[in-house]
Amino acid sequence: MDTTELLKVIEPDGATPGFDTDLSDAELVHCYRTMLAVRAFDDVCMKLQRAGRIGFSIPNKGIEATQVGAASAIDKTDFLFPSYRDFGMALYHRVPPVEMMHNMFGNELDSAHGRQMPVHFSFVDPIRLYSISSPIGTHIPHAVGAAHAFRLKGEDRVCLVSFGDGGTSSLGFHSGLNFAGVWKAPVVFLCQNNGWAISCPSEEQTASEGYAIKAKAYGMPGIVVDGNDLLAVRQATSDAVARARRGEGPTLIEARTFRMGGHSTSDDPTRYVPAELLEEWGRKDPVTRFQRYLEKEGIWTAKLEEQLTAEVSAEINAAAKVAEGTGQPGLETIFSDVYADLPTHLRKQGEFLFDLTARRGDAAAGDGAFPL
């Protein structure tokens, strides 16, 4: 299976010659719905950011097939280590959009109590979705260690860790793959090659022929897959997951896709992304591609699309409304969770801040007593 040839299943017209999916119709519809949900979540966040109602977001447009295809290949009992550009992984596994919106608004119901920037999710339910860290690549060895722990404890579970093309230059990538290779850890590395690391094109990120080939140096198979082809990404990831479960060790998958928006809401990609490239990839839209496939399979109808679009849009707009209406985290969340127990010096600092805000007549102080 070790290949540098591009794995592809769905032709541009939606045909899948010689391919039979293992997904039921209902599962296929769930994949499609999730892609529409990513797009809706993305749109709503962009609008909220432009309106100044949230501070920041990360465009996910163009990457939906990679996120959803890969997420569909792991079980609820497995462990996801996503990047910050992975709305689809959370949504596929039915993390409620409102939970994600609580993070986007950094409110008191956010699992991280508004401590992190938007798009830095952390969930344990309905799937373990590891707390996202901004420093690139740091999570890659964590996934390897977690996978090795599953093995040592005799648990039949795997880790899926996702990162960008830029992430392959990080220290974490190299130590992570090296350790995983040596330990034969049950982990799948998903490199989302979306063409850019902010403004740095892939050609300037590495001189190797793509990213999958790097697997060879670490003693594991490297697979290149069309990242805009949901079924191909699912296939490659399922194969790698099966390999990991069989105890044969890790796989590096490179999904070739394209970031159809800016790096973030702070970025102006017209400064560096050639317009022709955007146009070219616009024609390869992953949602359209999957839709054509579903149409050929007799699943997609205009009515289904309309219905699902309306559903996800209503759900996500409602989620945003709830999250926006939720209060800010309490002052004590600055000091809690630094340690398991609150040390004396942090208690004193917390009391100082409570007293200060109370003296200022700031409502943030609540009823005035430091609750920790």
């Binding site: 401590r115 920037m117 740095c200 800010q328």
Partner: protein, 324 residues
């Protein structure tokens, strides 16, 4: 003289020195066509070409490690770390290598280079786009640590750092990038490293600060003046090596001291200033030194305005120096 923002002054400093010294080059993540995520390097690739201002792969360790090699071979690298929060993969290269190269080779090999990096809070950046890590680096012999707070100093200190024979960590207060403006000479000029700047003169209390806290302290000093307390405000500008005589002189002149930084308190830079005063001029002190700092927690996002010291907290501390 043109009026520039601090960000424009950094950009102007880089351009001015690159025009006169062909060995100076600028590199890092997204510093080329994009001009850096804050636009500090805007226009450099256009003016000087890709050989002298270029993007690197996403590796801080690689950026700093290769800069050391360039520096020892006759170039003057100015490496950018996109956010100070992302400097840690390069901690080894900075602390073990750049800072110790001269010492361990008896001066045969040196690393005259500058690491520019935006630091500090105020942009709703949460844990990893807000940190003030100066204390980690000020603890490192062989390194210089510089933090400007005005456009004039940003350009002059940056050029002095580039011309300096030793490695300099040049931390730019991102909160001030666009919020402070000032006159900046067009030519190449330097502001001496290891000289503090007395921002304001007053006989009652001396406040030491640097970077993004300088305007906050100035505001508090104005409010104190309205209450009849005259403050001397000192912008330290170079944290390492520190202008010790200047600190002692400013402390002695009032006998009351407040130190302000947004970094956490424990083992923060303020501890060094307090210890220096305790050791060298305690007999001049009318009151214990007060510190106004960030809390000893990671940097929050939604509540960052509660984390960051503001004028009110500084004013409280100024007044408390009279309650002793």
């Amino acid at each position: 003289m043109p009026t520039l923002t601090l960000l424009q002054a950094v950009n102007d400093g880089l351009k001015s020195v690159m025009r006169t010294d062909p060995d100076v080059l600028v590199f890092g993540e997204d510093v080329g066509l994009k001009g850096g995520v804050f636009l500090a390097t805007e226009g450099l690739t256009n003016e000087f070409g890709k050989e002298r201002c270029f993007d690197t792969p996403l590796s801080e360790d690689g950026i700093i490690g290769t800069a050391i090699g360039m520096a020892m071979n006759g170039l003057r690298p100015v490496a950018e770390i996109q956010f100070q929060d992302f400097i840690f993969p390069a901690f080894d290269q900075i602390v073990s290598e750049a800072a110790k190269l001269r010492y361990r080779s008896g001066g045969q090999y040196t690393a005259p280079m500058v690491i520019r990096t935006p630091y500090g809070g105020g942009i709703r950046g949460g844990l990893y786009h807000s940190q003030s890590g100066e204390a980690y680096f000020a603890h490192t012999a062989g390194l210089k640590v510089v933090i400007p707070s005005t456009p004039h100093d940003a350009k002059g200190l940056l050029i002095a750092s580039i011309q300096d024979p030793d490695p300099v960590l040049f931390m730019e207060p991102k909160a001030l990038y666009r919020s402070v403006k000032g006159e900046v000479p067009e030519d190449v000029y330097t502001v001496d490293l290891s000289t503090l700047r007395r921002v304001r003169e007053g006989k009652d209390v001396t406040i030491f600060c640097y970077g993004a806290m300088v305007p906050v302290v100035e505001k508090a000093a104005t409010q104190a003046a309205a209450k009849g307390i005259e403050c001397t405000v000192v912008d330290l500008r170079t944290l390492l090596p520190l202008d010790e005589d200047g600190v002692l002189e400013a402390a002695k002149s009032t006998g009351r001291v407040v130190v302000v930084h947004e970094a956490p308190r424990f083992c923060g830079y303020g501890a060094e200033i307090s210890a220096l005063i305790a050791e060298r001029c305690i007999e001049y002190m009318e009151a214990p030194v007060k510190r106004v700092t960030g809390f000893d927690t990671p940097f929050p996002n939604t509540l960052e305005h509660h984390y960051l010291p503001d004028d009110r907290r500084v004013l409280d501390a100024i007044e408390q120096t009279f309650e002793f």
